[in-house]
């Protein structure tokens, strides 16, 4: 099992991350990648009135703690699914609409493990990893509130089911 975690200001390249995962082992049968992009209506809960008004997002994190938490989330995923390699990259600093913000990649022998682990990692990363987003909406900066839907998404993995 090969793990790569990075919190970085630089952009990432899905092509490179895909190659890294693919080359981990010849037992690879499935590679799932998730890329999160900054949407132009990230603010609030999708209110139409705020569409197109996001100028930028600024991401803060707690160095060292974030990386450790991401590694813990990956270890948690390994208890549930059989994966051969996992990559988690999260950008910090100032991002613009349509910028890449987060990458999760999983390589596994069977496709279900890769799909489920990637989705689990995203769900937990959202509620556990120490990132905070500030939005610039037409020149006014505001910290974003945590979404109840993210807590609900993570809660679906509770219990012992592997599905």
């Amino acid at each position: 099992m090969s793990i790569y975690v990075s919190v970085q200001t630089e952009d990432f390249t899905v092509a490179n991350e895909y190659q890294r995962l693919r080359q981990i082992t010849h037992s690879a049968g499935a590679v799932v990648t998730f890329s999160g992009l900054v949407r132009d209506f990230e603010v609030g809960s999708g209110k139409q009135s705020q569409r197109d008004s996001l100028k930028s997002l600024t991401l803060q994190h707690y160095p060292e703690m974030t990386e450790r938490l991401l590694e813990e989330i990956i270890q948690e995923s390994q208890k549930r699914w059989s994966t051969l390699g996992v990559t988690v990259i999260h950008r910090v600093g100032r991002l613009l609409p349509n910028d890449q913000i987060v990458f999760v990649g999983v390589v596994s022998t069977h496709r279900d493990d890769a799909f489920q682990a990637a989705q689990f990692l995203m769900d937990y990363l959202k509620i556990r990893a120490t990132f905070w987003k500030k939005a610039d909406v037409d020149g006014t900066e505001q910290w974003l509130e945590a979404k109840g839907s993210d807590t609900a998404a993570a809660a679906r993995w509770d219990g012992s089911h592997r599905d």
Partner: protein, 83 residues
């Protein structure tokens, strides 16, 4: 010394706060520090007391009555919004 960190919107309320405080007997837990901060900075005390705010010592989430030691890094964390 106890090093203080305030993340997310908590940071905006703590601009005036000295981020390095003397380690002393009556600041034995994060709760003590919070109460002490609230005396001088009422607004900050209020946001730090919101139930969603978590506290960490040396980058580990702890309870509010966790014992503090000299040179600890104490951080106040609002709900995270990454991803």
């Amino acid at each position: 010394m106890i090093n203080l960190l305030f993340f997310g919107r908590l940071g905006d309320c703590a601009l005036e706060v000295d981020k390095s405080i003397l380690y002393q007997d009556d600041l034995a837990t994060p709760l003590d520090v919070r109460d002490w901060l609230a005396k001088a900075h009422g607004d900050l005390g209020q946001v730090l007391s919101e139930p969603q705010v978590l506290v960490s010592v040396n980058k580990r989430i702890v309870k509010w009555d966790h014992p503090l030691a000299d040179n600890d890094e104490l951080a106040f964390l609002p709900p995270v919004t990454g991803g």
